[in-house]
Symmetry: C2
């Protein structure tokens, strides 16, 4: 029995089991559902035991529990792979917009509608079928690599306790690669793999002038205005080419390779449609010399997230305000060190604060970018597995934002490989979240091939 | 009996009467005191009748009443002068900080402490003694010019109905000059006259980008950010020399004359002390090539009064915000047309709004600057009167802000002359407002001389 045959033979059981799991409303953001998150972890642990995982544990955190399961390869020299996903889900409001109860999954044609179908229970679950299919096809009692599932329960609430969990269990999670199944493909017709996510660091700047708001008639034009200073400061953060002006900001940026740019360019990108999804933005804007996809995926940014000061209520108030504030965040790419960017920003703000104004800078948040070179052994192995499942070329994407993935790479010190088969049209975080059932089965198939590919590629790497 | 003798002989009666008027809590900003504002108008009208004004009327408005009184010159060809002041006062909170009940005036050495002593009942009242002293000294039954008092009741509430009042009674207020007694001198030792007040116009700018806040990971760096656009726009409103960059902004500005600059420079100005009064501002700032006094008195400005957009609450929120807002006001000087500045600003904002951002501009408020050239007949006449009263040279100042004075000049089409004897240390609008009693008597003396000076100067002018 080959992989596709095993999957076809077990599809009904697969979806029946998945629906049982989906029926547990494991909303980590709602304390009223924390018992359900625990129930979800226990249900999944029980299921993993049922299908034969030799080791299955519910791992406690200071918050909500994760599930860990390990199926060791027969060969002790075989590579180890961690598979990351999460079993908690987003809230479901507004309930009135759902076609079905969000926790009573509904099949509609090829679609499975329900909270968690795509993000992320459906994607985690295809790995259970994948590992079974791999062994059914090989006839062996174990996969060719040691498979370690790590399925957390707080991803939708910011993964607050996840780094601590990783550090606590660092030895048991030792691995040669980390497979992330919580991302999307370009489209149903264009299978793709993510190869990077931007990192993030944040800062808040406060500029102080006079001790109190001043009458702009008596003082205006003769003392520094903190709002002027803030406008000048933040305007100077970019040059006319849309580049960030912080000294050294681009020094450590790993440049896009010609191959990546060429592969990105082959994605069927419709800029007008993209602008519509960008809140109806009227025009693209960004760093000169890069396409829109390159800008959001592979170039660092400085973004003003908020700015305020002086009189912001109705009517006029003719003052020189005492202070001005702004929140700024930087999206970072491979090579950049968040701490270095913070330090550079602090220095730059102090140097660019005019006489008579005092600046306070508070920095926070430091998420490194994650990045897996296209040419790496693990990415190429996963690409072969995906191409075998889809029967067509697999392209590459990146993502502009970041979740807990950077912590995985940093703490476990292993390369990330993104095998995510969601779609941007899956309405994750929104009413009527769905997964395409054929894609979940393709995921199982790719996962089945992946362990064979990894067994060869990571051993020889 | 000469003017000083008359004033000396009548000082006790003068202060006793003034205290009666000060005891009426005519707070126009507090509806609970609107009856008191009316009572104040009626008390003052009765007093003017008592001292012999042939015509005294309480003029109603859609708000609170003003008092009008006229003492015609014997010669029908004599000039007419309007004297402007106000009989309403500021609120008195915080009451606990007063040395006396604000409406039970307290004499303490040379000081008279109480709400309205300086702003503005005390200054209005010295004109009653002044006109009596003038006639006592001349022995004539009428002043040498037609004196028209116009004392409004809503100045501390924005003079909302004052322009309408002026237009209604325009013919009866016809005059050759308008004396304003509601300003301050440089100091007790440095008598001075104000010769101008800056005008004002205001605008609110809103910049719109995407229809909703966007995730800065998914979209940041590839769509325009309205807060960036606002920072760039407002930073560009001034050049490196602190000059406003609106095209044509300075075209109509009446330049300071060499004489004015020289006279301003003779004022004993202590910049460190001024910075302390400017809310402890740490450094002066402003248009290159001008002193601090020139900047606040005689140069136009653009000031950001408020700015806001995006996430302004605690913590971070990594968004590209949908919109940004700012409130801007322009202080204007002699020669500038508020409507022209508004129009220039609208055009400039639209031209400097980047692609993909939509700008909305709402302009409002249009107060022309007032200005009386030092060399004009009315200013020189008033200067002679002041110098005779003080026995020393009188210097010139301006004020950075504006009240209803521009409306007086515009609607009555007559030059303004500022004969104000307040001090910056009078704590107007604050607890323990006071007037220096010797200065109120000097005001009466200057007012007495003023009518003789005007009789000559304005007739020959």
């Amino acid at each position: 029995m080959d992989v596709p045959q095993y999957i076809e033979a077990n599809r009904e059981r697969f979806f029946a089991d998945l629906k049982e799991w989906l029926a547990i409303p494991s909303i980590s953001g709602d304390p009223a559902h924390h018992g359900d998150v625990r129930r979800s972890a226990e249900w999944f642990a029980a299921h993993l035991r049922d299908i034969g995982f030799p080791t299955v544990e519910v791992w406690e955190t200071a918050g909500l529990p994760a599930v860990f399961a390990e199926w060791p390869a027969a060969d002790p020299a075989a590579p180890s792979v961690v598979v990351y996903g999460h079993h908690d889900v987003q809230p479901v409001e507004p309930l009135g917009e759902w076609e079905t109860d969000p926790f009573t999954p509904l099949e509609k044609g090829d679609r499975l509608i329900g909270r968690g179908t795509s993000d992320d229970k459906g994607q985690v679950f295809f790995h259970t079928l994948g590992v079974q299919a791999n062994m059914a096809a090989s006839g062996a009692p174990a996969p060719p690599v040691t498979v370690k599932l790590l399925v957390e329960g707080e991803e939708e609430s910011g993964s607050l306790h996840f780094p601590e969990l990783l550090r606590t269990h660092r030895d048991r999670l030792a691995c040669d690669a980390i497979v992330i199944s919580d991302t999307s493909m370009w489209s149903e017709d264009v299978p793709s793999m993510c190869t990077g996510m931007r990192g993030l660091t944040e800062a808040e700047v406060s500029l102080y002038g006079p001790e109190s708001d001043l009458h702009s008639g008596s003082f205006g034009g003769a003392v520094p205005n903190p709002l002027h200073a803030m406008a000048a400061l933040l305007a100077a953060l970019h040059d006319a080419d849309g580049r960030v002006t912080l000294p050294g900001f681009y020094d450590d940026v790993l440049p896009l390779t010609g191959e990546e740019r060429e592969l990105f360019a082959r994605l069927p990108f419709d800029e007008a449609e993209w602008l519509r999804t960008a809140g109806g933005s009227r025009a693209p804007y960004g760093e000169k010399g890069f396409t829109t996809l390159e800008r959001v995926w592979a170039r660092p940014t400085a973004e003003i997230n908020g700015m305020w000061g002086g009189h912001t209520g109705p009517g006029g108030k003719t003052i020189v305000p005492r202070e001005a504030h702004a929140k700024i965040s930087f999206r970072l790419v491979a090579g950049q060190d968040p701490a270095k960017v913070q330090e550079s920003f602090r220095t730059w703000v102090q140097r660019n604060t005019p006489p008579g104004i005092r600046a306070d800078i508070v920095t926070g948040g430091a998420v490194r970018a994650c990045f897996s070179p296209i040419g790496s052994a693990s990415v190429q192995a996963a690409k072969r597995a995906m191409e075998k499942a889809f029967g067509q070329e697999v392209l590459f994407t990146r993502e502009g934002g970041s979740g807990p993935e950077a912590d995985l790479a940093d703490i476990l010190e292993a390369p990330l490989v993104f095998v995510g088969l969601g779609l941007d049209s899956d309405r994750i975080h929104a009413p009527n979240e769905k997964a395409e059932m054929p894609l979940l089965l393709k995921g199982a198939e790719a996962a089945a091939y992946l362990w064979d590919e990894f067994a060869t590629a990571l051993r020889t790497a």
